[in-house]
């Protein structure tokens, strides 16, 4: 190997390198910032709207945020709500509900059409036990799939419970607490919708 370069020269090169990497990263971050925000919003929108069939709305539901009055329900809290309109008429709402799962908060997205029937229920975020309660988040979960099409007109209030509690829903094996929390949260969201349906028409749109 040839004569090693001097320590001083190396230190100067190192300092320059530090400035260059730091500067490049900062400049690049500035350049990317807008795009990152936009990309995150698009992704969030896609996740939020999976509970709505694609042809059931023609507005930007994420910009039509519902003003929810008294969002604290018996066992769950409604975090946000969005209105989907089709041809200018309210067609469906998406409610984001937070309930208490077996292990920490459980966030649900609940899509309800204008007749008070469920369009779909999806888990947005959870901390349930892998292999047990976490199966609630699997797309083909029978409990979650079974909600579609139900409403308070098709299913009486007393039936909104697990079979164990004299209701009509089959729980996920080994995850009673999680299943019960989900059924209760969905039922409460439906009841909230029925009680407040009139106020959803006059929503504040951002655009």
């Amino acid at each position: 190997m040839s004569r090693p370069p001097s320590l001083l020269k190396g230190a100067i090169v190192l300092a320059l390198l530090a400035c260059a990497t730091l500067g490049a990263t900062l400049v690049w971050q500035q350049y990317c910032q807008q795009r990152i925000i936009a990309a995150e919003q698009t992704l969030k929108a896609r996740a939020l709207l999976t509970v709505l069939p694609a042809d059931s709305y023609d507005n930007q539901p994420l910009e039509a945020v519902l003003q929810l009055k008294e969002p604290a329900l018996a066992t769950s809290t409604l975090v946000t709500g969005y209105l989907a309109t089709l041809g200018g008429k309210p067609h469906a709402v998406v409610l984001q509900s937070r309930t208490q799962g077996y292990d920490g908060p459980l966030d649900l997205l609940i899509g309800i059409d204008s007749n008070g029937r469920l369009l779909g229920v999806k888990v947005l975020q959870h901390n349930e036990t892998p292999g047990l309660g976490a199966r609630i988040a699997e797309p083909s979960n029978p409990l979650m799939q079974g909600f579609t099409g139900l409403g308070r007109t098709t299913t009486p209030d007393a039936a909104w419970a697990l079979r164990k509690d004299q209701g009509q829903f089959d729980q996920i094996a080994g995850a009673t607490v999680t299943s019960r929390a989900v059924v209760n949260a969905v039922h409460e969201a439906l009841r909230y919708f029925d009680e407040h349906a009139g106020t959803f028409a006059g929503v504040k749109t951002d655009d």
Binding site: M1, P4, P5, S6, L7, K9, G10, A11, V13, L14, L17, A18, A20, T21, L22, A24, T25, W28, Q29, C32, R35, I36, A39, E40, T42, L43, G131, A137, E138, P139, S140
Partner: protein
């Protein structure tokens, strides 16, 4: 002699964490390739200006800078891939440092420095392929993380990946007729 076991063992977190699906493994392999290429190009120019004692600091700085830029770029243009890789993306910088160690063992850059990286990438892809096939029975080229497992659930978890990695290495050894016992094999690493 292959350096694969050494290179792989120091990167197990990356190898097991980001190989749940083929898409995840492939995107990580591509990201790694890009980072390592850029890193070695810049280091090639810098190395002769740097005193050997400063090399480590320089490579940490450079690797961290490149990986941060890549991370920002992925967040802006391929957010789903970024979310699939999560924190494992940052661990690519560790591979840069290992490459640096590997290069400084050699008197001149040669094929021997590239081989472990190629082997690492191949192993990553194989793991991704096997784990996805075992876990869900099918290959989906969907970018999102697969949450549902209709097959062997163990394959989606890190221990399953570890067992599979052992089997893959064993299969490679028996196929390549490598009969050296691991004990006689000497791995050299610069102190």
């Amino acid at each position: 002699m292959t350096r694969l076991p050494l290179f792989a063992s120091l990167n197990l977190a990356l190898l097991l964490g980001a190989s749940q699906t083929l898409v995840q493994a492939a995107s990580l392999a591509l990201a790694m390739l890009a980072v390592l290429l850029l890193y070695s190009l810049i280091m090639l120019g810098l190395r002769r200006f740097l005193h050997p004692t400063l090399l480590d600091t320089a490579s940490i700085l450079l690797a961290a800078g490149i990986v941060s830029c890549l991370e920002l770029g992925l967040r802006a243009w391929a957010l789903e891939i970024y979310q699939g890789l999560g924190l494992y993306l940052a661990l690519i910088s560790l591979n840069c440092l290992l490459l640096e160690r590997n290069v400084s063992c050699q008197s001149s850059p040669s094929l021997a420095t590239v081989r472990p990286i190629a082997a690492y990438g191949a192993l990553l892809l194989m793991l991704g392929l096997c784990r996805e096939l075992l876990a869900s029975g099918t290959l989906s080229l969907d970018v999102g993380i697969i949450r549902e497992s209709s097959g062997l659930r163990l394959a989606t978890l890190a221990p399953g990946g570890f067992i599979l990695l052992g089997l893959l290495i064993a299969a490679y050894r028996s196929l390549s007729g490598d009969t050296n016992s691991p004990r006689t094999r000497k791995e050299t690493l610069a102190p």
